[in-house]
């Protein structure tokens, strides 16, 4: 954060006037004073359109506060070793083994309490224990560091899934030990950290919050010349461009390509968008011995002479993703400014003039793609998008859509309350924006709670066809409410499988399930967002009668005996093992 603390205070106060009523509630529990964290954190998130509201718990009251604030959207825990008992940072160096065990046991017992109290909280960021504020100059390990290591080991093996450990060492390394702490205020008022520390801390944890709000980036698009390789292909030619790890400048581009490749393995879609002759670029992608990004890694390619804004728009449409999930890397200030101006929702990274800084700039921005629950599905994604392209192409060979769908040989597998796929199910609620009727975001813990609740069922489906397996791509949360009416809490589907009537087949299954539970009335809701316009008539198409509607939502109530199931005879249904 470049702004000064006083500027942050000013701008945060201005932003707080236009906050929506639905806030992202954050509670900070701490055993040291963290006076300046509130506004810095609020501001860091509010500029990214997260309506954060931070509450600070009472001083040194973590255990009780963990109960009080368990319903917050995010709980952050600052548990500082130096204040576990007053003056531990110096007292501990005189402790014998027995006393070390005592303080470990006492702290672990408190940690257990806190984890139990916070077990249903959506997301908990727990700062890993550290003694580095006081031990950074010691050659051997101090008792303070030994205790930190033991506690961290315990936390790592006992933390529930919703608890993420924040490595304070990275933040303190970024800021420097001396600049991270303010010992004047530590001795006078138990306030350990500096303004600079809080700024670095807030930047560091922003990716967690973005991911929890379904705002992670999903696509990384590169220009080619002087972005994926050194030189201009159209001028220097196939043999003139540099991207070999063995040359000085080539090594930088080789490193950049490796970073992109590893992102692609984690499920981030890689694209290229460049003004070049298509055949020239294809030749490099297919044949150049030093090229690391090959056709199978590239989910989308736009190689032509049209403007990049239209190209990015087309790319977003073809991939069925919003432009706000795009990051574009380009070396030309003309292009980067043009994109920033025309498509402010796209994050644009400029290749720096000092080329040696290029890979590091890319690394510093990897948090944009951070995903709370990365899953096996992600790794297969580039391939799946490629299959999607093939399907689109073969669609054109069939006279009717029905013939086409029949020719695919589709199989839908339905999973009910399956605990083994919780991470992917949670991720779907966090990342699906377009085909999503209510856009409720659920953490892994939330999904687990639904599965354990007898009145709530979580359904998911995957689809396979002759081109491949789409993986888990649809999800619904259905609840039995009062008066035994069924409630469709969530219904969403990945855009990868749109256009195959999977949504109607899935709805048929849900209705069958509710019938089996003797439900008479099914209530459903469409909640409008800036992205889900395409499903605003979905329940109407499923024969649900509209009861009421406003600007922001539509409410439906269906007498289950009046449900008109859309006949789906081109798909085979398989039921996965129920839990």
């Amino acid at each position: 954060m470049e702004l000064k603390y006083s500027e942050i205070l000013q701008r945060n106060a201005a932003l707080s006037k236009s906050l929506p009523t639905d806030r992202f509630e954050i509670a900070v529990l701490s055993n040291v004073e963290v006076f300046q964290l509130k506004e810095i954190l609020e501001y860091a998130l509010r500029v990214d359109n997260i309506p954060a509201a931070v509450t600070t718990g009472d001083y040194d009251n973590i255990v009780q506060d963990s109960l009080k604030y368990k319903d917050a959207d995010l709980v952050i825990v600052f548990w500082e070793l130096c204040n576990i008992i007053d003056g531990l940072q110096f007292k501990i160096e005189l402790f014998d083994d027995e006393k070390m065990d005592q303080i470990f046991d006492r702290t672990v017992a408190e940690i257990d309490f806190v984890f139990r109290n916070l077990k249903d909280t959506s997301l908990v960021l727990f700062n890993a224990f550290t003694g580095v504020q006081f031990s950074s100059a010691s050659i051997g390990n101090t008792n303070l560091e030994r205790l930190a290591a033991r506690l961290n080991e315990y936390v790592q093996s006992n933390a529930p899934r919703n608890v993420k450990l924040v490595d304070l060492h990275k933040i303190i390394a970024h800021t420097g030990v001396r600049a991270s702490i303010d010992l004047r205020n530590f001795y006078s008022s138990k306030a350990l950290y500096s303004i600079n520390f809080y700024k670095a801390y807030c930047s560091h944890i922003t990716p967690y919050v973005m991911s929890a709000n379904g705002r992670s980036k999903k696509v990384l698009v590169f220009d080619c010349d002087n972005t994926l390789w050194k030189g201009v292909l159209g001028e220097e030619g196939y043999d003139g461009i540099e991207l070999s790890a063995a040359t000085k400048d080539g090594a930088i581009f080789a490193e950049v390509q490796s970073i992109a490749l590893s992102l692609s393995r984690q499920g981030i879609l890689i694209g290229i968008c460049t003004k070049n002759n298509p055949d020239d670029v294809t030749e490099v992608i297919e044949k150049h011995p030093d090229m690391q990004l090959r056709d199978e890694h590239l989910a989308a390619r736009r190689v032509n002479w049209s403007d990049k804004v239209s190209n990015l728009r087309d790319m977003a449409r073809d991939l069925n993703l919003g432009l706000d999930s795009f990051v574009m890397v380009d070396d030309s200030p003309f292009e980067t400014n043009f994109i920033r101006e025309q498509l402010p929702e796209v994050t644009v990274l400029q290749v720096p003039e000092r080329l040696s800084e290029y890979p590091q700039i890319l690394r510093e921005n990897l948090g944009l793609f951070y995903n709370l629950s990365s899953t096996a599905e992600d790794a297969k994604k580039a391939g799946m998008y490629k299959e999607q392209e093939k399907r689109e192409r073969s669609k054109k060979d069939f006279a009717s859509i029905k013939d086409y769908l029949t020719s695919l040989g589709m199989k839908m597998t339905i999973y009910q309350d399956d605990k083994s796929i919780i991470p992917r199910m949670s991720q779907m609620t966090q990342k699906t924006n377009q085909f999503n009727l209510t856009t409720r975001r659920y953490t892994e813990r939330d999904i687990e709670n639904f599965i354990e609740d007898k009145r709530t069922n979580v359904f998911a489906f995957s689809i396979s066809d002759k081109f491949g397996d789409s993986g888990l791509t649809g999800l619904a949360v259905v609840r039995i409410g009062d008066d035994n009416c069924g409630i469709v809490d969530s219904f969403l589907m990945s855009c990868r499988v749109i256009g195959r009537d999977a949504e109607f087949a899935f709805m048929n299954c849900l209705i069958d399930h509710l019938k089996a539970r003797n439900v008479q009335i099914v209530l459903a809701q469409y909640i409008k967002t800036s992205k889900n316009e395409q499903v605003m008539d979905f329940f109407d198409q499923c024969s649900f009668p509209l009861m009421s509607s406003t600007e922001s939502e539509k409410n439906y109530s269906l007498n289950i005996s009046n449900y008109k199931a859309k006949p789906i005879d081109f798909m085979e249904f398989i039921y996965g093992r129920p839990n």
Binding site: K4, Y5, S6, L9, A13, I195
Partner: protein, 75 residues
């Protein structure tokens, strides 16, 4: 420099810079409690890239004293 001090004080206490006068002190400004005082000290140190002596921090309780103290650091 005086305007910069007033802007920082205004931001910390959540008032407009016009409300900060030469005599502003915890008596006039309701928000000026001990926590805000700490925040003010840190914000001023960052603004002017200085570090106050621990002993002078408690005395920085009105605009004139603050301005005079910072001026001394600048010289």
């Amino acid at each position: 420099m005086e305007d910069r001090i007033k802007n920082v004080m205004a931001a910390v206490f959540g008032v407009s810079p016009g409300e900060i006068s030469d005599d502003s002190s915890p008596h006039e400004i309701a928000a000026w409690d001990s926590i805000k005082h700490l925040n003010l000290v840190l914000a001023l140190e960052e603004e002017f890239d200085i570090r106050f002596e621990e002993a002078e921090i408690p005395s920085l309780v009105n605009f004139k004293i603050i301005a005079a103290t910072i001026k001394a650091y600048a010289e």
